[in-house]
């Protein structure tokens, strides 16, 4: 049986960073898995990250989210967004928010691209997301951008790793 689940690229921030891009992604694989371990470079009152494909900044993204805070649950949708947004909130020292995205059949040219993700913030909330990019193009690049009200970016030590899974 062919072995797969191959690391394609990985980045660890060594300075405060404003954006991470994986470009030149080949169509070799069937699915992509993106694992991010992130925190803000400062202590913003709100922090999160946005994911875009192929540098598309149009309002072609949407999501449905369900989350639990330890005392409550909720679910919401966001439609016609300019990126897939994941909230992130660790403020405790050395605590990072871990987000794992499964990007399914990223290179086919017949379906919109769908992502399912788990977002685990050990200090605040755990959530799951289904997200849609309304585009049938093959995904060749993924850009991850921080959003925080202090605009200081990703902290040192954030990791971003992209894996490829190839079906036989």
């Amino acid at each position: 049986m062919p072995s797969t689940y191959t690391p394609i690229a990985s980045t660890t921030t060594t300075t405060a960073s404003s954006a991470i891009t994986f470009s030149g992604i080949s169509g070799t694989y069937t699915d992509l898995v993106l694992i991010m371990s992130i925190r803000a470079n400062s202590t913003p009152t709100s922090f999160g990250t946005g994911v875009r494909f192929n540098s598309d900044t149009g309002t072609n993204y949407s999501r449905v989210v369900a989350y639990g805070t330890g005392s409550a649950t909720a679910s919401f949708t966001s439609s016609n967004q300019s990126r897939i947004f994941f909230s992130a909130g660790p403020t405790a020292a050395s605590t990072f928010n871990v987000i794992r995205l499964n990007i399914m059949n990223y290179s086919n040219s017949t379906t919109y691209k769908t992502v399912i993700a788990r977002n685990d913030d050990s200090s605040d909330v755990t959530s799951m997301t289904a997200a849609l990019w309304r585009n049938t193009n093959a995904i060749t690049s993924v850009t991850i951008t921080p959003f925080d009200d202090n605009a200081t970016g990703f902290a040192i030590g954030c990791t971003f790793t992209l894996y490829g899974i190839k079906a036989a």
Binding site: T4, L132, A167
Partner: protein, 188 residues
């Protein structure tokens, strides 16, 4: 690229385990088909993973992805899940059921280009001392509506799993471009 050899650090034993992740079989639907079966599954792995992108022909609303093992149609299955529909988070369950209901899957009631992804892990599938348990994450988004869920499922049988059948709860068909990919994870 060299496939990853994942290393899990066991807190109990202090041992390091090398793992492999292999593609066993993939079925891509080219014309409407009522079910897909993986048979003669190799018994050489520790766990199985199904990675799915699916859509059914149901026109009246979302469908439900269902699983059976070894052709067992008895009331030997159970499942629990937590889902969000964009408004609330709710639980659901089935007990003594003839199949495992995984969750809602996109159908013909949404845009033709919208399919549902699922990742399903089936643990210790060859172990003849345990009932078989799965966990799942899946759903779909349709730009203003959708579902996302994670769940668990139980097959009350100690038999090793040698086949898996995936079908629609409403006896609908899988649409073209639906893909089911089966992987094996081995702990050496």
């Amino acid at each position: 690229m060299t496939p990853i050899l994942g290393i899990f650090d066991s807190a109990k034993s202090g041992n390091l385990y090398q793992t492999s992740y292999d593609s066993i079989s993939t079925q891509t639907v080219s014309s409407l088909v009522s079910s897909v079966t993986f048979s003669s599954i190799p018994q050489t792995y520790t766990h199985l993973q199904l990675r799915i992108l699916a859509k059914t022909s149901r026109g009246a609303g979302p469908d439900i992805l269902c699983v059976r093992y070894n052709g067992d149609t008895g009331n030997n299955y159970a499942d629990h899940l937590i889902y969000g529909d964009g408004s609330t988070v709710s639980p659901d369950k089935d007990t003594s059921y003839p199949q495992q209901n995984i969750h809602r899957v996109a159908a013909d009631d949404v845009n033709a280009s919208i399919f549902s992804p699922f990742v399903i892990d089936i643990f210790d599938y060859t172990n003849t001392n345990k009932f078989k348990t799965l966990r799942s994450l899946g759903g779909y988004d349709a730009n203003g509506s959708g579902r996302i869920a994670f769940g668990s499922g139980l097959w009350q049988s100690t038999s090793a799993i040698s086949s898996i059948t995936l079908f629609s709860a409403y006896a609908e068909s899988w649409k073209p471009n639906t893909q089911f990919a089966l992987y094996g994870l081995k702990v050496a």
